[in-house]
Every structure is written in structure tokens, then in C-alpha cells.
Amino acid sequence: MNAPLLSVRALRVGYHRGADVLHGVDFDLGRGECLAVLGESGSGKSTIARALIGLLPKGARVDGDLHFDAAPLDGARIAAYRGRDIAMVFQDAAASLHPLRRIGVQLDEALRRAGRTDAVATALREVGLDAAPALAARYPHELSGGQRQRVMIALALASSPRLLIADEVTSALDPLAAAGVLDLLDRLRRERGLSLLFISHDLHAVRRVADRVLLLRAGRVDAVADTARFFAAPPSAAAAALLAAARRSEPPSAVPGDALLHVQDLAADYAQSPALRDVSFELPRGAALGVVGASGSGKSTLARVLLALQRGRARELRIAGADPFVLRAAARKAWRRKVQIVFQDPGNALDPRFRVADSLREPLRLHGLGDAAAQHAKVRDLLAAVRLDATLANRRPHELSGGQKQRVAIARALALDPEVLVCDEAVSALDLSVQAEILDLLRDLQHTRGLTLVFISHDLDAVRALCDRVLVLEHGRVVEQGETRAVFAQPQHAHTRALLAACASA
């Protein structure tokens, strides 16, 4: 093989007063090769990408020896290459597209700027989108997440780049859409000989597309290895830990008991259109139910209805002994002590103005439980229960990590000693190793407190590890349910098989 397309030596990046983010990173990227950059948030993955296309914030110090196509890559040349030979696709396609212009117009503009005369239809077809004029006439908000990401890729390809940097392009997509985008990237690489720098924290995605894997840890290269070898024999301790976090243990077996959740023919709407139809299931006390499905399948609506945060209509509904929709205000408030929820977004899980102790005392105050001293004692107990240090009680949310915030949110949900805990994508926004810790914590709480869990997730691995029963939703209807092991081993419905196929590359 001749000289690599991209060669990076001793790349150091720092922001004005702060410490360096990258401490001398070296790597090569061959022509037509896909190199994955793995690492937790804050390890410097995106900084590499931004340094390569010269989009670091003002005042950043960049130092190092970069070569693209055997020519040195300095500030002026980076600007010349950006959007031509080097293109980039970001995680948030919705924010990267002009919201008020039809995608056909945006694509046409990009093609013309690159001096190409191809029709928009050709460009759309190349990224696996319907070439019919109807699609090109849509606005970004009228597309699905996967479609938007494909449009972004088509825009990036307009200038016929030789290097495509993909920064977390699948992280915001549900597994089906993500699998489609990954297949597309793989195909483009083969057909166009495109070099791909694939930045991700998703091991499945990396395994699927990358030739080599570079593990970044705290701004340094921790390990580089061929993908097969990386997964078969982790080259470093950090790599081994990462893989171990992904490979979770088997779920606990169900505790037999009475049905704590009894739902028959439940229907609910979201924004005036039907979101749930004919949903029926039962869940015994102490069991864990996984609810899976693509984005928009009604998972979160189900969570909100189970919590009576949103109205639902059911032929029969018994949640922790009552139908919340027939209860009067005082009785419903009492009922709420039995059913609690943890949401996805740790960034907004806690009131930014509340200290941790205030957030944890809020449920106790709401229900008038105990005096101040008793409440503070309870706060200490709760922090211990979610394995957080008692000194965190005086912190505010912005002083906590995502995982810590999520633990506080769980502690707050536990403050009233609920019987049912609903987790709506409660770990999806967290780093892999933190996810594993939170799942471990949930499993532990389930055993020690006899909690009944409803675990909503698009991460089938997490569901497999935690839940003894699983329910598959598609377009608001239950297409399959049963014991997790049985459903995952022998999926009956086509949608379940598609979900499993999208997630399993292992």
C-alpha cells in the first residue's frame, strides 16, 4: 500500500487557559479504509474531527504534524479542503440542515457549488433515498431521522470528497435507521473508495463498519488494532473494560406473585393522533418488563400513561392496585407514591436551581413526610442506596456528571418507596461503562426492594440483561410479547426480527 491518505502525528489541542484536550495523537488512515475512533464522552473524539476540518473554537491551540495526500495540512489548506476533499457529517442532522428550505434545493445548491451537473435525483438515489420529486420537495422536519442523516451524507458527497468524517452519525437514530445508515456508509466506501473516519461510542456500529479501531482515552491513543482483533482480544485494559461493559450478564429470573400491572386494551393519543392501540399485558410483582420498538412506536407514550401523566383509555387498567384515571385528586396523589419514573435526559432530570438534597427532599415535602431532620437522614439513605457519596448532597446539577444526575433522579424516584419503577430510556444517553453501572444498580434495587420494573429502551442488550419479560411495539400496537429469552431466541414477528438483526452484529 502506498502512502496513507491522512497521516496525523503528535496532534495536540488545547483551549486557551484550560489543560490540553488531546495530548499528542498519532494515526494513519489509508485510502478506502475505515478507521473507527472509539472513546467515552470527553475523551477528545470530536476534537480530532474538528481539528481536521479547522472548526475548533476560536482561541484553541493546535499543534502537530498533519498530512493529507502526502501534502502538509496547515490552516490555509484545511480551509481549502474543507467541504471539498474532506467532508463531515454530524450527529445532529436536524440542526445541520436549513429548516426552511426544501432538501432538493439545498442539495441542488451543494451540487452546483461543487461544479457538478448531476441531478438531485441521482444524488438522492446514491444515498438510498427515494428519487421521486415528492421527497426532494420536503422540508427537513418532514423527514425521519434516518432520512435526514442520509440527506446530510448526500450533501457531504456532493463535492466528491476523498475523506468523510462521520461524527456520531448513528447515535441519535433508532437501531433500524442506524443499521441502514451504516450499510450506506459501508457501500459508499466500497463503491467510491472513500476513506472514512468513523467517530462513535457505539460498539455495534464500530464493529459493523470499521477496518481498524482506535481507542481514545483522556486525549491519548490507548490502543489501535484491527477490528476483529480488537473485539476478540482487547489490546488494552481500557478496551477490555469497555467490552466487558457491553457484554452484560444474564437477567434474574422472575419472582412469581400477583399481577401488579394489569393492562387491557389500552389506547392513547399523542398530539391528536393515535399513539397506542389495543395494548394489553400483565406484569407480576417483582418482575421486570422490557418495552422495545423503533422511535415513534409509542414506547414513551406508554410510560406517560402508566404514570397518569397523560390520559389513556383502557377496558381494564390496574396499576399498583388502582386505575389512576378514576381516582379523585387526593387519592391519586396517594397513588403516585406507588408508581415512579426515571426519564432519559439526565441534563434536564433535575431542576437546575435545586441542590441534590432539595431534589431528594421534594417528594418528602410534597407528601409531608417527616420533619427536616428525618428528611435529611432519608436523603443520606437514598444517596447511599444509589451508591453516591453523601457529600454530593450540596451540589447543584451542573456540578454532576450525567451518570451522577441519573443516579440522583433514580434516588428521587425511590424516595417514596414505590412499588413500580418505570425507566423511559433511562440509560440511553449515558456512556457505555456508566450504563453498565446504572443497569447493575437497577438490578440490585429490583432485588433488595422488590421493585417491579418497566424498562423502556431501544437497547436490546440492556433489555436482555435486565428483563425477564419483553413487549415489542410497532406503530402503537403490541406485535409480540413473552419471556425475554424465548422472544430473543425465536422471534415470531418480522418487526422483532428486524430489530434484533439491526442490533446484533455480535
Binding site: 403516585r336 434536564n348 431542576d351 421534594e362 417528594p363 410534597l366 428521587r412
Partner: protein, 270 residues
């Protein structure tokens, strides 16, 4: 960094104008109604003592401008305060309640804002006399409509955030959500909006005074001075220029302050 610098400039300019309007008039031996018969319509200068000149009946423009600035600032902050109080209460309540209550409250606001504001103010001022309290209430009520709308939207955004939903799931009713979560989290937003509402109130009040609908003599605000200045524009332009410059600087200071505050307080995603 940029926000820091413009915040410093804004605060500096603002402090300068406020201090000048508070302290400035005492620097000169004249009061606002002192008539210097010997120096009618004299041009600005140092030697004769009228730094910014005098008007047609010999009153000192420097002192009158700063005193009028004081009045305008007071009326502006008064009206801004009224707007903040009612706008915050109304908008936050509507946004917290959501559903049909929210829709009806906002429709009611639409109806009020469709009324011809100026006509109503003229009517009120004619019926009840031109009092400063009435002026503050009227201008405040006008500004409060926009404030309520914006705070309603922000409250509705907060309402669906996980920490508010979690509080609902814990058993919190609307009052609890309003007073513990949504209201306090709106304050920063309201403060930024206040930096827009106060200059707007100053401007509206100046406009009314310019039309002769403002305060009764002898109180005078910047708008009243502008009206007088226009009368003398050909003979003594400084009578118009001094209050116009003061008003412009005041509005610039508020705009900078609002921008800097917005950059500082409303960082949504870091």
C-alpha cells in the same frame, strides 16, 4: 468573552446615565424652572454657565435634560416592574396549567392586544387626568402583553422537561410546579425580557409625552423635552439634540445590556 466585554460596556454606559441623571442637576446652580432672562436661547458653552445652552424662555437645557431623564427612567422602571409582575404571573400560570386553560388565557390576551392601545390610553388620561401612576400602569399593561406571551411559551417548554414531569409524577399539583419549578426558572428569562421592556416603556412614554399626553407641567420627561425642542428646532437645535442624545444613549445601553444578559443567562445547551 465577547459577552463579558459588551456587558461591561453596557453596565458602564448605563451607570453613567443613571448617575448623571441623579447627580448631574446639582452640579449646576439652576433648577429646571429657573428662567434666565439675560440668556434666552443661548448656544452651548462654558463661560455663560449654560453648558448645553438654554431654551426660548432661558431654562438650562443641561439640567432639564438630566431631570427629564430621571423622570423617564423612573417611569420606565415603574412600567417595567408592573409588566414583570403581571406578565410573569399570567404567562407562567398559563404555561404551567396547559391544555384548555392555557388556550383560553392566551385567547383573552389576543383580544386585549387587539384593542387600540393608544386610543385607550388617551381616553384614560383624559378621563382621570394625566397622573404618573396612571401612565405607569397603562404603559406597563401594554408591555405586559408581550411579556406574558413570551413567558407562556418558555413555561410551556419547561413544563414538558423531565424534572417538571418527574415532580408531577411525585404528586405535585400546578401550584407547586408554578412556585417551585417553573416560576423560579423563568426569572432569568424575565430579567432579560425586562431589559427590553423598560426601554420600550421609556419609548412609549416619550411618545405619549411628545404628543402632549404625558405628565402635566411642571414634571417633564424626555418625550416632553423633545416636543419642546421641535418647536425651537430652527433657532436652537440644541434644545432638541440634548434630550434626543440622552434618550438614544439610554436605549443603546439597554439594548447592549439585554444582549449581554441574554448571552449570559439563557445558555440553553452547553
Amino acid at each position: 468573552m465577547i459577552a463579558d466585554r459588551s456587558l461591561r460596556i453596557a453596565i458602564g454606559l448605563f451607570a453613567l446615565l443613571v448617575c448623571a441623571s441623579l447627580v448631574g442637576p446639582w452640579l449646576r446652580p439652576f433648577d429646571a424652572w429657573h428662567t434666565d432672562w439675560a440668556q434666552l436661547q443661548i448656544a452651548p458653552g462654558i463661560t455663560h454657565g449654560h453648558w448645553l445652552g438654554s431654551d426660548a424662555i432661558g431654562r438650562d437645557v443641561f439640567v432639564r435634560t438630566l431631570l427629564a431623564g430621571r423622570v423617564s427612567l423612573l417611569l420606565g422602571f415603574g412600567a417595567g416592574g408592573v409588566a414583570l409582575l403581571f406578565g410573569l404571573a399570567y404567562g407562567a400560570l398559563a404555561g404551567t396549567l396547559g391544555g384548555a386553560a392555557e388556550r383560553w388565557m392566551m385567547r383573552a390576551l389576543d383580544v386585549v392586544s387587539a384593542l387600540p392601545f393608544l386610543l385607550i390610553v388617551v381616553l384614560l388620561l383624559t378621563l382621570f387626568g394625566r397622573s404618573s401612576v396612571l401612565l405607569v400602569l397603562a404603559v406597563g399593561a401594554y408591555a405586559c402583553i408581550d411579556l406574558a406571551r413570551m413567558l407562556r411559551a418558555e413555561a410551556a417548554r419547561l413544563r414538558v422537561l423531565p424534572f417538571v414531569q418527574a415532580a408531577r409524577a411525585l404528586g405535585a399539583g400546578p401550584w407547586w410546579l408554578l412556585t417551585r419549578h417553573i416560576g423560579p426558572n423563568l426569572l432569568g428569562f424575565a430579567l432579560v425580557y425586562l431589559s427590553l421592556a423598560v426601554p420600550q416603556a421609556i419609548l412609549v412614554e416619550s411618545f405619549l409625552s411628545f404628543l402632549g399626553l404625558g405628565l402635566d407641567e411642571p414634571s417633564v420627561s424626555l418625550g416632553g423635552l423633545l416636543a419642546e425642542g421641535v418647536q425651537e428646532l430652527e433657532d436652537a437645535p440644541w434644545v432638541l439634540l440634548a434630550p434626543a442624545t440622552f434618550l438614544s444613549l439610554l436605549l443603546v445601553a439597554f439594548t447592549l445590556l439585554g444582549d449581554a444578559l441574554r448571552a449570559r443567562l439563557m445558555v440553553r445547551s452547553a
